[in-house]
Symmetry: C2
Subunit: 272 residues, 2 copies
């Protein structure tokens, strides 16, 4: 397979850098082709602004979504953005690797999403009518491909557990897994999360590294998170609410959007 790893840590000598190298070596040992977007090393620009849309008239009001759609159709996005889109189309698997900063991705990676996920490419795709609300959540430009997160956290795993104070890691990552990866079509694999990474000794590192190697060996076979497809019949149109009777009647929250046996709990989460 072809794998794109988007890496968002400022220090190559970090634990993140070491885990990245572990992942790449294992993928290559398995015969996969790997490309890396190293956002800090590449000096990635984080902010969506007028400079992203050179065709926008200087006195025009800047509407980010409209400008993005117009530039995408006209093939007038900036070269850095187009290069990333080409990598996404090339890759069978996308991996986003980052340290968890304030319970989500670092700004530079959010800026990669904000800028690369153009209107017409990652959203605003497909028929919008009374029967379909576009190709998203399981359909779209990147459908048929797989994606997963590699995340490091300083905190304890217990603090991110079902009753942990930070909130369950699955819920914290839902805006990314469901909202950023599943949205444009990816099948999303359970995340690989390493906890208490500031306290790892050599043996601890090797244990985490081996768990990561196993995930890389099973990249093509690991079952994806069973999110519900938008246009598969589970949601009402146009309110896009889950049909009455689907999901545990007493359930609220994010687990509603999981289909089938996995929906009852966080059992699909990697316990690394």
């Amino acid at each position: 397979m072809k794998v794109l790893l988007v890496f968002a840590h400022p220090e190559p000598r970090s634990l993140n850098g070491a885990l990245r190298d572990v992942a790449i070596r294992e993928l290559e040992a398995q015969g996969h082709e790997v490309r890396v977007s190293d956002l800090y090393a590449d000096g990635w620009k984080s902010e969506v602004d007028r400079a992203d849309f050179p065709v926008l008239a200087p006195d025009a009001r800047f509407r980010p979504a409209a400008a993005s759609g117009e530039a995408f159709v006209a093939d007038a996005l900036t070269e850095d953005v187009k290069a990333e889109q080409e990598k996404l189309l090339w890759a069978d698997v996308l991996i986003l690797q980052f340290p968890l900063w304030w319970f989500t991705m670092p700004a530079i990676l959010k800026g990669w999403v904000d800028r690369v996920y153009a209107y017409g490419f990652a959203y605003g795709v497909g028929e919008h009518s009374d029967r379909r609300w576009g190709d998203r959540y399981g359909e779209g430009t990147l459908a048929g491909k797989r994606a997963m997160l590699i995340v490091t956290a300083g905190g304890w795993e217990e603090h991110y557990s079902a009753r942990g104070i930070n909130g369950p890691i699955d819920d914290l990552l839902f805006p990314i897994n469901h909202g950023i990866l599943y949205y444009p079509g990816y099948d999303v694999l359970p995340p690989f999360v390493a906890y208490r990474v500031d306290r790892l000794d050599d043996a601890g590192f090797e244990a985490v590294a081996e768990q990561l190697r196993e995930r890389m060996r099973t990249l093509g076979s690991t079952p994806s998170i069973p999110y519900r497809r938008q246009n598969g019949g589970d949601y009402l149109i146009p309110s896009m609410q889950l049909r009455p009777g689907l999901g545990d009647p007493g359930a609220t929250g994010l687990a509603l959007h999981l289909n089938g046996a996995g929906a009852a709990g966080p059992g699909w989460v990697d316990e690394a």
Copy 2:
């Protein structure tokens, strides 16, 4: 009161810009003192990197949290970061205003959090022992102050409802409200969320503006979201898991961390 509004939209002529001006005018009419951090206009730097820590030796491995803590103690953070920290200490109320991009804040605002929330200032504060896990989640540097979000979304409110496909807005914003605002001590007010903002006509805008004015008039009296204090007895230490018996026994997910009557549902959310 003193109010700091951090604004993260690239276009002053946007709906966000108009709502910002509505909020400022109402706050000033109520006699409050308002300062604005306009991140795009100020050319805010989004990425945490070595340049943030001039005292770091050039050949030293860059550990972001450690470098942040050392620079904070030595008063060696960069001037832009120190200026924002001073504004946070000055303000009685913090407002973060942004368009919802990919279910969270734009990169430039995440970069404001990543850089301004230094170790020793917003985290790593207070006693860490077998009795206390630091001053966080209701305690900390910014305790006693209030904070709220002003958010605009292109999508429908139904899509962000309890059973809506995007996930409930409260859950999507939990990493920000609980993880970024409550964490360093703020009392967090229900967010103000405006939906379908790309389709607003003049009457629609005026309705949203009036709802926002009302929120600005009640900034000092609106009850805050009843998150549970970390060190108030509800969580086990050191696992920081909610004590058995607290919360609905069948409940999972983020609503567990709400205390009292409001915990059963999203009734505390502003329905703007």
